[in-house]
Symmetry: C2
Subunit: 205 residues, 2 copies
């Protein structure tokens, strides 16, 4: 209970002040408790940040699972829902991006954070590979396709959150779905998705 409110406060501070501001005192003030308590519950600020990272990852996975489940049984619809949800709240969110960047900044310096990142990202890619396999992508192609699709979605998500004025969530989703078209069936008439006129296939209409 207290642990949970401390994690939430840590996430808020990370979002507001970045990695540099994630100090014991700031987090404690945010959670309206005394600074000593975070040592009492987590043993140190590093463990709190680590727990916050795990919690954020869990939130993202829950949101993705909900979107995929709501999409019904059709494999392609599930994959589309996965990427579309990646560009909508609560995933495409400034606070979440700031938290994630704070973690990336620790990967280079701390081995335990690096290991946690590797684990989480491997699970993310495995999930994409499963969804791609359900759409009929042969097993030998799944690994590289999942790496590529994960990189595309991540890159779009990053830039979408970093400078929101350049392109929109609908366009990001459009780009990702066009790539999925090409991954699954290279001969699909999907080129129209990449025209600038959004949300309508111009060559057909």
């Amino acid at each position: 209970m207290r642990r949970h409110s401390l994690i939430a406060a840590c996430a808020r501070v990370l979002a507001r002040d970045g990695a540099a501001g994630a100090s014991v005192r700031l987090i404690a003030r945010e959670a309206q408790i005394s600074p000593g308590l975070i040592a009492h519950y987590f043993g140190g600020v590093d463990a709190l940040i680590e727990a916050t990272y795990a919690q954020i990852d869990q939130t993202v996975n829950a949101a993705l699972t909900a979107a995929v489940t709501a999409a019904g049984p059709d494999p392609r619809a599930r994959l589309d829902a996965f990427v579309t949800a990646s560009f909508a709240p609560p995933i495409a969110d400034g606070a979440l991006l700031a938290t994630w960047i704070a973690f990336w900044s620790m990967v280079g310096a701390r081995a335990d954070i690096a290991r946690q990142h590797d684990r989480q990202y491997a699970a993310y890619r495995a999930r994409l590979a499963d969804l791609l396999g359900a759409c009929g992508l042969p097993a030998p192609r799944q690994r590289l396709a999942a790496i590529g699709l994960a990189a595309l979605v991540d890159g779009l998500w990053l830039e979408l959150s970093l400078s929101p004025g350049c392109f929109g969530a609908a366009e990001a989703s459009q780009i990702a779905r066009a790539q999925i078209d090409r991954l699954i069936d290279c001969n699909a008439a999907a080129a129209g998705y990449l025209d600038d006129n959004p949300l309508s296939p111009p060559e057909i209409a």
Copy 2:
């Protein structure tokens, strides 16, 4: 001269200790000078980091230009050289990633940094759009294609630098080139590029 050696030292510290370790004293010790000097040359540590970012961006652009120029006149070869160079030194480098992440972490908090990021990324995308246009991609498709390709290359570069054990530079280049195939000519027999057997087009050979 001294400015240059300070920028280099700042990049080394950023690479070794991450954004959190980029303190005046650490950078000064790395450059083997007194802490007061960095205030004398840059007025503050923020300006030094900003200058380091500009220098890194310049290095990246120079490396990309060199790769494209060395590729000769063929438009497709130039585009391939662009993405392949994105996954090789000096671009795919821990120091560069750490500096870049440090800057991303400031985008949310500082408006001038956000503007600098927007400018640099727009130039990057414009460059990709030009290369795509030279390969015959119609103008109305260039914008979204450039956004998607930039996101893919960025996502691959990020993960390649963040956890180098998962996939290699050759595989990243392979993935990116396969997407370019599909962007330029959707009917190209490019599916083989996404097989797991690296560096050879299995369906042909």
